[in-house]
């Protein structure tokens, strides 16, 4: 496997070129570059409709210096599966000799909501492909609407805080666990601040020989309301508060990684969810006294999921 030394990583082919139209401070291109560094072989990329897709492929330009395809919103997994199926057919007949890896990048709306069926189907069928969710916790491309990945209390343009509303009412869907329940060879959560952890997990995902799923926390300055030079700090804080634990599940075996492993081992401190809430404008309204119970609920749910994860990692 490729060395993770920075001097070696910088020699890898540039598959996503600069000059794309993502917002300043967007985490998506950072995550994608880290994931693509995990493939030693050629990679074919598919994108579900979303920020990443519209920002990298405005005709007659493309930011992709590797085979690329986009078809629609809710079918990224099937699009990627089609490439892998064609590869199997053409490789078998000797029409393609080289090894090619396959990856689909999709936002949380395209993954947790509209694309869940196609994702589940592709994972169950065992296509040799990696599916990466760039999770910025709302429909950012259409202007910050709530998705089932949006956390409780968050302001979005379809879950406004108001006199009788504290923002989004529900906890986020735990999609990573749903993917674990598919019993696929590799599932992980990553965050772009820990590039070593992300590239390592991408390497494992590309080399697992079957379907793999990576859920990546993708801080969004526009949607979360923070300054665009704070993206990586925000990603780190998500892990330090255990709002977004780093872990992997290899053939069903859970393991905490990075800062999350250190927190579980008592080598680092678990920060309060309040730090997360005060760092972003989307939670600003929660600081009113009347929404204090929502913050308590949020902390309790983060603790419950975190403690469950620790137990799972001890199995």
């Amino acid at each position: 496997m490729t060395s993770l030394a920075l001097k070696d990583l910088q020699k890898l082919p540039v598959r996503l070129t600069s000059g794309h139209r993502l917002c300043a401070g967007c985490a998506e291109s950072i995550i994608a570059k880290q994931i693509l560094m995990g493939s030693e072989d050629e990679v074919a990329v598919s994108l579900s409709t979303g920020c990443f897709e519209v920002s990298t492929t405005v005709f007659p330009y493309t930011s992709w210096n590797t085979p690329y395809i986009h078809t629609a919103f809710g079918n990224g997994a099937a699009t990627c599966a089609g490439l892998e199926t064609a590869y199997n057919a053409l490789h078998k007949k000797g029409k393609i000799q080289e090894n090619i890896n396959f990856v689909n990048f999709a936002g949380d709306g395209a993954t947790y909501d509209i694309g869940l069926q196609a994702l589940s189907g592709a994972m169950e069928r065992g296509h040799r492909m990696l599916y990466v969710c760039l999770n910025n916790e709302a429909y950012m491309n259409t202007g910050i609407q709530r998705s089932s990945a949006t956390t409780i209390g968050a302001q979005t343009t379809t879950s406004w805080p108001g006199s009788v509303s504290s923002g989004k009412k529900e906890f986020s869907k735990d999609l990573t666990q749903i993917m674990v329940a598919h019993n696929i060879p590799y599932v992980a959560q990553v965050s772009p601040h820990n590039w070593r952890d992300t590239v390592t997990k991408a390497q494992k995902a590309f080399n697992c020989g079957g379907p793999a799923f990576i859920n990546a926390l993708s801080p969004c300055p526009r949607g979360w309301r923070f300054a665009s030079d704070q993206t990586i700090a925000m990603a780190k804080l998500g892990v330090e508060t255990c709002v977004w634990p780093l872990f992997e599940v290899v053939d069903g075996k859970y393991e905490l990684t990075g800062e999350s492993a250190r927190i579980a081992d008592g080598k680092a401190q678990k920060k309060p969810v309040m730090d997360w809430i005060t760092s972003q404008g989307r939670y600003k309204h929660l600081l009113q006294d009347k929404w204090e119970p929502v913050i308590e609920q949020m902390q309790a749910e983060v603790d419950r999921r975190w403690n469950k994860l620790i137990k799972l990692s001890e199995l």
């Binding site: 005709f59 997994a77 099937a78 089609g82 078998k92 090619i100 196609a118």
Partner: protein, 387 residues
Amino acid sequence: MPQDIAINGDNAVALAWKQIDPDVCAAYPITPQTIIVEKFAEYVANAEVSTEFVCVESEHSALTLCTSSASAGARTFTATASQGLAYMWEMLPITAAMRVPLIMAVANRAVSGPININNDHGDAMAARDCGWLMLFSENVQEAYDMSIVAPRIAEHHSVQLPCMVNLDGFVLTHAIERMTMVDTQDVKNFVGEHQPLYPLLDTKHPVSHGNMDGPDYYYPHKYQSVQAMLKALEVTREVFKEFKDLTGREYHLVEEYRCDDAEYVVVVLGSSFGTMKATVDMLRESGIKVGCAMPRIFRPWPMEDLAKMMEGKKAVIVFDKHLSIGSYGPMFPEVVAAASDLEKLPKMYNVIYGLGGADATVAGFEKSLKAVVDGKAEKIHYLGVRL
């Protein structure tokens, strides 16, 4: 030697695809198409084909997987019907705009609601504006033959469009008819090796498929599809000629039956063309000069051939097995448009029939046509509807 066999429409389509031996097939079960995929799965299970066969979780994924597979350079086919085609709808114009020549058999069935599994053309007609080539078949032989010619038209480098091969649900899919097979080696030679343009898995020459267009490119790209459709008329004629040289069976953009000296002509699609021929024969015996025609290819619309056929006729009666509720049947305005440049415009009538599997009989057709001849027909007539 070409062999005569007894086979139903679905199995005939599956047989054609077995002989072609495509790279990829992804499909989802739906009546009355299911036999095609079941039979093909049997060929896969016994290594009678080398195809990568994927049982997807929905029709949306079926067409998606086939679209990206075809973009990757694999010869790809699928099959569906009714709700399945409706569920694919989002992908239909995308597949066409990506200019991938995949083939889809459509076992024409009524679209819900109310839910109904029987034949009409509601599914295909709702897909007619999506940019796909559309071939129709009158009988099992034609469903088989169209399956063999389809890849030649779709994959032609000046066409590069997906193609639907339509066959009427149950009437053809489940009816066993006598059919002449083409020798497998002849099929393979006729269809030839797939030569994809800009295949996505050519990593030495990376290409981006499915980019976003602003207004400055969207419209010109649509116009390119228009030009490909026009080219397809020419290509289809050439491919039909080659197919005739191979099999002796002759096909045209518009099939005509006793039209030459007819005063009245019927335009009808699919299996009802056969029923209409029998009706024409009966009416001819009683001295009524009537003929009938079927657009073999519905997209591109064979405007000129139809206009030529309608020249000098007293009346044209368009039989539609679907209804654009609040307007006419979907084929009627298109036939009127085809006739619009004729020096003398024939009287134009529309007959709606056979919705959701309602009877399409010689007696019913005869009654509708006699009403036209007697000057008693309404502009639009709902044949056989029970009030």
